[in-house]
Symmetry: C2
Subunit: 338 residues, 2 copies
């Protein structure tokens, strides 16, 4: 492993999802039942493909955000269950399409759907789940929730296209990269946390606060994911370490290492990311350069900043178990770096 | 060409889209402006990919249906322009995803987007346009239009997955096939024609009548498309003749020829469609067998029946220029067989 130094441990929070899991347990059972029902179809291939991914053990963090944020404002109806399921379907659709885009062979530690059923099924079942998501939103009758989630649908795709456009381009800046992950990851976290207060009839300020919480949480979450791609293990991550590198995906650690590199290092990065010279030896060298310039630690620091902003967004709220649970989610996302 | 006989000419209507084009001209200019604006993005790849397809000269029949059916009930606002644009974006998104699914190299006579920008861009820009479509629906404030179009989004994808599931399967029945094209094609025609009366505040009966019109028109339209794939020319069709055959897509002419074929012919079809023995000689033989069993004429007859049902659905309406124009669209769709 050469000169790879351990990640920063100081100030690293040790959150847990247990509080939010416990608080949303009853509602999540209804979400899980609705997921199975709405992924159903007489066309057998649809539940096959959908359930392959749905049953593969994602944490369902996003729907839990919707349930918890509705609870936070005392919501008593059942529209939050539909909206939470919509959010999870939007996420699942994105994963199915991402696997086609990234040509991934692994997802959550299992063969990706496209490896089993082909790109075609992944594209079309993703489209089906997105359609089902919008049908459930319509069932809630909340035009405001529809506005937030349709905005998210467009902005997620826009972020993904931006990522594709800057892929293999070493001139990608930090700002470009934050714009990419804001779209591809943080917008759905933000929307998930915003539709809870919306359906509960919270004030515009409260909606905006929860939106800010979700947005900053999402940015922190993605930055941690990017760090794990250079430092975690395949078992933790449900994908292969170095996947981003091999796909020429420019992430924060790479941007920072490149910016601080000398000419020879810059040339290495261009060859690796732009020309595809990205074998195992190149990955090892990339990790060494990232460590040399402290680029993982700097990425983690940035994640901690966004995490802090997410916590600050909740400061307005009374000190309740739901608020604490949402705070813990922030710490949990960052604590995945072990 | 051997034994290929000419298509039925008797009773063939000779409709025109000119009346509907003329009636919706002013509104379509607003739709076209909105298409350009809503396909815009700071991420340059999005308008590039979207405009490649958007500017390639589709007839924009579906948005014209929305505009004309709103006009039919005296609509005076501007939500029909947004809904018509949403319908066209849903269609464009489907085409982008279809090209990936079918691995097509041609679309409307030009290189398909996926050949120029790759599968990735086609998947993601399709997702973006779908998101933009839902945002525009939300802008109209019509929950009922959202219900109809989100139903359509899910049912279109379901039809496409069903097509994938029965692809290369010679046991596909006529009923299976009608279910496929109902989803993949007719649902969007039906929705396009239904949201016009909805936004105009027409009665539930009127909405249902226009929905029936669109549904039957869509079925006729797709059956004609399938016939053209074995009988038209590449220039007319904007794709290659025999594409369906080479992709192992089971369409009505194939189903009918297979059902009436002897054991040797059935063996030929299975080899061609299921095992992929589909070179030019095989295509030629397929056309001969289709002609021998009169399968193109039978498919055209079926299209004529659906066309008749579409016309009947309009019988309730007063004899106005809009109603006549919608009748002419039916005849035009069928008259593409020349």
């Amino acid at each position: 492993m050469g000169a790879v130094t351990p990640l920063v441990k100081e100030n690293k929070p040790s959150g847990s999802v247990k509080p939010i899991v416990d608080l949303t347990k009853a509602d999540m059972e209804r979400v899980n039942a609705l997921i199975l029902s709405k992924a159903g179809s007489d066309v057998e291939m649809i539940p096959e493909v959908a359930n392959h991914l749905i049953s593969s053990g994602g944490k369902r963090l996003r729907p839990m955000l919707t349930l918890a944020t509705a609870q936070m404002f005392g919501y008593q109806g059942d529209s939050h269950v539909r909206l939470a399921t919509s959010v999870e379907f939007m996420h699942t659709a994105t994963l199915l399409h991402d696997d086609v885009v990234d040509e991934s062979d692994l997802r959550r530690g299992k063969s990706s759907a496209r490896m089993i059923w082909g790109n075609q099924a992944s594209v079309l079942v993703g489209d089906f789940l997105l359609g089902q998501a919008f049908r459930m939103m319509v069932e809630t009758g909340s035009m405001e929730a529809l506005r937030v989630l349709s905005d998210a649908a467009a902005l997620i795709a826009e972020g993904e296209v931006f990522q594709l456009a800057v892929s293999k381009k070493m001139e990608t800046t930090k700002d470009d990269y934050i714009a990419v992950i804001r779209g591809k990851t943080a917008e759905l976290f933000a929307a998930a946390a915003e539709v809870g207060p919306i359906i509960a009839g919270a004030s515009a300020e409260e909606q905006q606060a929860l939106r800010n919480y979700g947005m900053n949480l999402g940015l922190a979450f993605q930055l941690v994911d990017d760090v794990l791609d250079y430092g975690g293990s395949s078992a933790d991550l449900g994908k292969n370490v170095g996947d981003d590198f091999r796909e020429g995906k420019i992430t924060m650690p790479v941007i920072l290492a490149y910016q601080h590199g000398d000419d020879a290092e810059k040339a290495f990065w261009r060859k690796a990311m732009e020309d595809g010279e990205n074998d195992d030896a190149a990955l090892e060298k990339a990790r060494t350069l990232i460590a040399r310039h402290n680029a993982l630690n700097a990425s983690v620091s940035l994640a901690l900043e966004y995490g802090e902003a997410a916590r600050r967004a909740l400061a307005f709220a009374p000190d309740t178990p739901v608020r604490d649970a949402l705070m813990d989610v922030v710490d949990f996302c960052i604590a995945r770096i072990s």
